[in-house]
């Protein structure tokens, strides 16, 4: 009895040791990573490029939102629409010449980075704020900002709240996994206001809690407030406070390590800015095909091989403009005066009109 047990124990120990040895042989790549050693971002040369993967798959996968009307929203018919969705379409149009060759992988705010990092999606276009820690810690590269936003706060109209100081002792609903959670803490600390944060995972839960009076205020990006206000039970009973808690530049992001793919995302976005600047729209792009303006000829692929430099067909920007539109068209279709949101362009105007949109030249 005792002997059998002893043999078993010895067997266990021996098998552990042998297991370790086998493991060590099987896994030669098991480099011990110490915390002091800074990780060097090494470009993967052997693996396939993202562009090749996308082309082989036959469609682009964008990590997106399904619950933010105007930016990324899954409607009753099961179709995604919105500002971010249109940028996904623009990328698909540039790569395949067909904007429908895309798929939106809808995620929560908290899982979006992991989905991008693990390669489940090719590009993250999900009202994501560009911050330094996300840019560095998460192994991501942020493309040009497509929407300059700022964090705001919505309150019940009858509460009489006007400033952050009025919120002393109040409960504030906020969505987890967003920069808003941090900005709220920072701004309230700066204003010397004590409050009770109530944190939910989805925007739907946040708005329900706010509407039921669980919270006195709720906070997110101003565009998000405007967009969600339209689907509250009684939109007119609420108002957005005249305070801005933070800068929120929203834009697309890609994984580190594939510079060509980063270039594609950058220049497709810039092409939409440039097209608006030059007055080229989806309706009139064909009439520019005979133009003599060298700047327009470069954008439309009639001179030079700019699209080819990023690995695409030379008319890639033409497809973007023709099939999706320039920046202004994308904006107006989703957020402009003809929509329920009616968001003024503000900072999101071209630099020529006092905004911040400024694309580097294509040449």
């Amino acid at each position: 009895m005792l002997k059998g047990k002893k043999i078993q124990t010895v067997g266990m120990i021996v098998s552990m040791v042998v297991g370790m040895i086998i493991a060590a042989c099987l896994a030669p790549a098991a480099v011990p990573v110490t915390s002091e050693e800074p990780a060097a971002p090494v470009a993967q040369t052997t693996a396939k490029s993202t562009l090749d993967i996308v082309k082989e798959r036959g469609k682009l996968i964008c990590v997106g939102n399904s619950a933010l009307p105007g930016f990324g929203f899954l409607n009753e018919a099961g179709v995604f629409s919105g500002f971010d969705v249109d940028y996904c379409k623009a990328l698909a149009a540039a790569i395949f010449g067909d904007p429908s060759k895309h798929e939106i992988r809808a995620t929560s705010a908290s899982e979006r980075f992991t989905v991008l990092q693990s390669g489940e999606g090719d590009v993250l276009i999900r009202n994501t704020t560009w911050t330094m820690s996300r840019d560095t810690d998460l192994g991501m590269n942020f493309g040009p900002t497509t929407f300059y936003d700022g964090q705001g706060m919505m309150v019940h109209k009858d509460s009489g709240i006007k400033t952050l100081q009025d919120l002393n002792g109040a409960s504030v609903c906020v969505q987890t996994g967003t920069t808003t959670e941090l900005n709220l803490a920072d701004q309230m600390a700066a204003a010397g206001v004590t409050y009770e944060p109530v944190v939910f995972e989805t925007a739907d839960e946040v708005t329900t809690a706010y509407e039921e009076g669980r919270c006195d205020a709720w906070t997110t990006d101003k565009s998000g407030l405007v967009s969600r206000q339209t689907i509250l039970a009684e939109p007119s009973a609420h108002e957005i406070m005249d305070v801005t808690l933070s800068k929120e530049p929203l834009g697309p992001a890609v994984r580190h390590g594939d510079d060509q793919w980063f270039d594609i995302v950058n220049w497709v976005v810039y092409a939409t800015f440039t097209a608006e600047e030059m007055g080229i729209t989806s309706a009139n792009v064909d009439s520019f095909m005979t133009t003599e303006d060298p700047n327009i000829k470069k954008l439309l692929g009639l001179e030079g091989e700019f699209c080819a430099k990023i690995g695409l067909a030379n008319d890639c920007f033409v497809n973007v403009i023709k099939q999706v539109g320039n920046y202004g068209e994308i904006y107006n279709a989703n957020l402009g005066p003809d929509t329920v949101f009616n968001l003024p362009r503000g900072l999101n105007s071209l630099y020529t009109q006092g905004g911040l949109l400024y694309a580097p030249p294509i040449r």
Partner: protein, 394 residues
């Protein structure tokens, strides 16, 4: 002669069952460890080469920067991620311990009701069990949060119950004692009282064994403790002062607030787990043979006495092992707190910290490790308890 005997006893190693057994174990463990370390090194090298990030727990020491709605310890946005993690952990413990306590009471009651000879009582219990055991917990939690607690009056129109207790859709605010300067000393006195109560109970037990007349141990234990506590209260200048909640601005201030999120999670967990515990209790009681009950009746024990002295001690042996898994389930299920906005371990770490730092592997390994630790500790205590109550065969 001896050699022949030895070779008969030991076949060649490739036919020796024991040797083969050891070899096969080596192979299985080797493959398992090899696969796991292959996956791990693959993950590490992919993170390193493709994203340029390395696994590193150092972020736990940096400033968290976010606020947490409720906390058992002092916490502000300038504290570290580690402290935020501990806040979440304590919140989980709070809901798990209270949940286990109340679910056991409630579940036992329902389980006994289920066996009642009174038709109405046993039917009510049966309906309760069948309903709550068969609804997904997440649904129940959202039901409690959105259909029950949200629908309470707004805080400005809160129901004021005697106390005063404020009942609103922000939670329940009750009067609560706030420690004063003498509280640390009073805490020591309570500890002394507890030790004294143990000693008294032990001595009485010894005496009871000698004389054969066992005194009411629990009663004496409580009496000793209370006497020491009351004496201490009057000797010291008021170790606690009572604060009562009142409505100031947007919320109630003073007293102790049990938030709507906490209550929704706690009630959901209790109601759900109690239905399972009730079935466990019923099964345990039914496992005690009819003869035991008949013998107890023949000896002249009342119904309650039979239950307490004869049936329950024997039923416990059947109840405890499945009860352990219910306790584990309750603790693990408390991670659904994020659905109702309660900042438990998973909500704080698995969502907020993960998002602010993006360190998925580090955060999840920590959170999983902590839940594993909770579960194994619960199991350990329940196994010790099980050892103590099992049938001692002579």
């Amino acid at each position: 002669m001896q050699q022949i005997a030895a070779s008969q006893a030991r076949p060649p190693f490739y036919r020796d069952e024991r040797v083969l057994g050891v070899i096969s174990q080596i192979v299985v463990v080797g493959i398992a460890v090899g696969l796991l370390s292959y996956f791990y090194s693959n993950m590490v090298s992919a993170l390193r080469n493709q994203l340029g990030v390395a696994i590193n727990y150092g972020f736990l020491r940096s400033t968290a920067g976010f606020d947490i709605g409720e906390s058992l310890i002092a916490y502000t946005r300038s504290d570290t991620y580690l402290r935020a993690l501990i806040v979440g952990l304590l919140n989980t413990l709070q809901v798990a311990i209270l949940g286990i306590f109340f679910a056991t009471l409630w579940g036992t009651l329902i389980g006994i009701m289920r066996l009642s000879t009174n038709f109405l009582v046993s039917r009510i219990a049966a309906v309760y069990i069948d309903i709550f055991r068969n609804i997904p917990l997440l649904l129940l939690l959202i039901f409690w949060a959105q259909a029950v607690f949200f629908k309470l009056p707004r805080v400005q129109e809160a129901l004021i119950l005697p106390g005063p207790t404020f009942l609103s859709n922000r939670g329940i605010a009750i009067p609560w004692g706030v420690p004063t300067d003498s509280w640390p000393t009073y805490r020591l006195i309570l500890l002394v009282g507890l030790i004294l109560a143990f000693v008294v109970a032990r001595l009485l037990q010894e005496q009871g064994k000698r004389t054969g007349r066992m005194p009411l141990l629990t009663l004496w234990f409580v009496v000793t403790f209370v006497v020491v506590g009351v004496i201490g209260w009057f000797v010291l200048p008021q170790p606690l002062t009572l604060t009562t909640p009142e409505l100031v601005g947007f919320n109630t201030q003073g007293g102790r607030v049990f938030s709507q999120q906490f209550l929704a999670l706690l009630t959901g967990l209790i109601v759900y787990t109690a239905s399972f515990i009730a079935e466990t209790v019923r099964a345990g009681i039914q496992s005690v043979t009819k003869g035991q009950r008949e013998a107890a009746t023949a000896l002249g024990l009342t119904g309650f006495q039979t239950l307490r002295l004869i049936i329950f001690p024997q039923a416990l042996r059947v109840i405890v092992p499945p009860l352990t898994s219910q306790y584990l389930n309750l603790t693990k299920n408390s991670s659904l707190a994020i659905a109702v906005g309660y900042p438990d371990l998973f909500a704080v770490a698995g969502n907020t910290i993960l998002n602010q730092t993006g360190r998925a592997i580090e955060v999840f390994s920590l959170v999983m490790g902590i839940y594993l630790f909770f579960s194994l500790t619960t199991s350990l205590f329940m196994n010790i308890y099980n050892q103590r109550i099992r049938l001692i065969e002579r």
